[in-house]
Structure formats: structure tokens, C-alpha cells
Symmetry: C2
Amino acid sequence: MKHLTAAILVIGNEVLSGRTREANAYYAAGKLFAAGCKLGEVAIIPDDRDAIISTLNRLRQQFDAVITSGGIGPTHDDITMESIAAAFGVELIEHDYIVQAMTEHFGAEGLNEGRRRMSRVPQGARLIRCEKTIAPGAHIGNVYILAGVPYIFESQIDSILHQFGDRPYLRSEIEVALAESLFAGPLTIIQERYADIEVGSYPGRCGPNPCGKICLSGQDAERLQQAVGEVEKMLAELRIL
Amino acid sequence: MKHLTAAILVIGNEVLSGRTREANAYYAAGKLFAAGCKLGEVAIIPDDRDAIISTLNRLRQQFDAVITSGGIGPTHDDITMESIAAAFGVELIEHDYIVQAMTEHFGAEGLNEGRRRMSRVPQGARLIRCEKTIAPGAHIGNVYILAGVPYIFESQIDSILHQFGDRPYLRSEIEVALAESLFAGPLTIIQERYADIEVGSYPGRCGPNPCGKICLSGQDAERLQQAVGEVEKMLAELRIL
């Protein structure tokens, strides 16, 4: 069964301190939308065991699947694998396949403590391998544990994406050079008539005059096109007034 | 009393659908770090009443302050003010000051339903005014309700920042051209000796060779400089081996 709803859990002090602009959730959000999976929440939390356990346990009950990003490297602040094992109440084990792959790549003498840390996954987890790194991600229950380094995260997302979504979401945008408050009323009426289409209004900044975009999305191309037609008609009528 | 911990609650379907790359939490994170306030969580949730109420009530108990972004415009999907009023168990009221400012700006006949929506705040809230917009944000309890449009959000953050943080956080970064697993052990020992300094390691991608940055932060400049010195000494010793 494919996952129709998902949450993303970003684990990393570097995002919360403003050092790093979050990029992985943004990448995954676009991919999930296109796959037809509804992203219901993104949580960004620190490299903190209690925060990881409580947030993961909340999200994995609330959504079909959870994708985590970050904290699976070899250093002291990489505590995602052990925290997720604790969240599931299972042991953290050294995985034979990873130890073997590390040994082949680095030699037996290259298998230092840092690399041994990267060989540990929650008991019962399956590996998420990708060509970008020897250290795999892991999949346990409805949780996918991925890397924080963006080019590895992206490769891992692409490799698990076939398990997410059923019917792709589609999006249409209409530019508007009117103050939002002038079309808010009629737009509400259109939204009420198209419960299967999500209608949003996003003002922007384009000099002294109001401008922005009305954004419509949904899974049925024909219904989406109908709703777009109604918005365009509504805007044309407003411009005449 | 200044807020020493904070959470940011971003409310907006456009971020979860991958349409818009989140920018406001990133901006606020950098400002809070520099002010000396610890950002403990960023949550990105949809324009959904139940999600707003439950997430806000969790975060405002867990942190000194919560900053929300988005959902305070005039359209049907702008439900942040009414949801936060419900979270606090108070009425949503039309605020005299805002009605008056809107009337002065747009004329009595320009005070349409959309603009009336933007005049409503939770009962007991104080206004957060800024020069970028007539419609203010609001402050109730330990919650600051700000706009989603980035240039307005930024102006509002700047106007409330004096209430956050005590002693600024400082950051130092050291470039490293070594695989993380080679210095993970010694770095752990340094972290253990500097409990007041946060030490992170962030690998990057620079061609075939390993490279990355070790990032240290803390509130005491002297201690930070000492820890940086120890990391540099450790790396110099590793390079000789």
C-alpha cells in the first residue's frame, strides 16, 4: 500500500541556529506533491534524543509515513539511529552488510569507531542504499531514515519515492494585479464549490501596486481546469467594475 | 523578562506542497541566534484549524515564546487569527484601532469584508504594527502572530526582537579536508570537555576528496576561542599522522 500522507522530520542544530537554510524538506515536498502524497507537517528539531523520540512517535502515529533527514553520520552529534531505535523500543545493532561494505571499501584497518557508528541501525530495519554513499539509510515500520547532506538525501528520496502517493497533484497559477481583499469574497465562493481543489492566494511585492498569485491544485485535471476557468471569469468581471 | 527559548510555527499549504521555499523561519533563526535566544523547533503545518490549535498549544507550553508566520490575510485560507483565538479560548474581536486605520486609508466604502477580516484579533491581544502594512500582527500571551509575506514578516520580526535573548550566540567555523570518521573520536572528547559550546560537524561535497566544516557556537567568546584552538590543534596532529 502506498503512503498517501507523510511528514518530514529534519534533525539538525545547524538549521535551528540559522547557519544552514533548510533544503531537504523543500526538495522532498516538491517530489511528494508530484507523486500524489500529501505532506502534512515538517518538523525541524535539534540533535536531541528526547526531542527525536517524542516528535517521531507523534508523527508516525499521525501520518502514513515519516521521512527523517540528518544525524546519521559518524560524529558525536549523529544520534538519529539510536534515538529512533529507542522510539521503536528495539536494540541498535551493527548491520553485517554495512560492516562488510565498509571493510571492503576502507580495509579492515579503516573500520574505525566513526565508521562502526555508521554501521548501526535499529533492529529489524531494512537498508536504503544509494550510489552516493557507502553508509545507507534505513527503513523501519513507516519511518524512512535518510541523510542530511543534500545530494545524498535527494538520491535516497528518489529511491524510495515509488512507495509514496497514488495520483499526482497538479497545480495552476494565475497572476493577479488586484488587492486580495477585492477578490477574497468571490474566491471563497469558488473554493466552497470545489472541495476537491485547494485554492490559495499569495500576495507578493511588485512596486507600489498590489500583485500576487492565486494558486489552485488538485488531482483531477478536468476539475482543476474548471476551477481555473471560474477564477479567471471572476477576475475579468472584477476588472470591469 | 526576555524569551530565552522559542519555536516558530509556519502556517501555509504553499510550503508543504513544495510551491514555496520556506524563508521566514530561516530569517528568524539567524536573528534569534544573534540575539541569544535558542530556537528549539520549527513546525510547518497546513492552513488547518485543528492543526494550528493543537500545534500552537503544544509549542506555547514547551517554549518561552512562539512566533507564527502566515495566514493573517483577507482570503478564505487565512484562518490563523481565529484558530489562535480558539487555542487560547478567547473571542475573535474586531479591533477598533485597525478598523480606524483601514477606514482612514481606504475610505469607509473601501472597508470590504476582506479588510474587516484583517481587523480581527484574539480578544486581549496587543497589536504588532510595522511600516510595511496597515494590517498589524498581534501578540497574545507568549505568542507573536506575524505575516507570511516575507518582507512584512522580516519587518515585524525586527520590531519584536528586543524581547528575545540575553547574551548573543557566537559561531566559529573551521574548514576540514578529512573524512569525518577520522576525527569523530577526538572531536567527541573536545565536545565532552566544553559542555557550554555546541560542536557540530557538517560534511560537504567538493569533488572526490572529503571536505566539510566543523562548526562551534556558544555565548562565551573566550571559551569559544579556547575550543576552536583545541579543534585546530587536534586537526593539525591528525594531518601529521
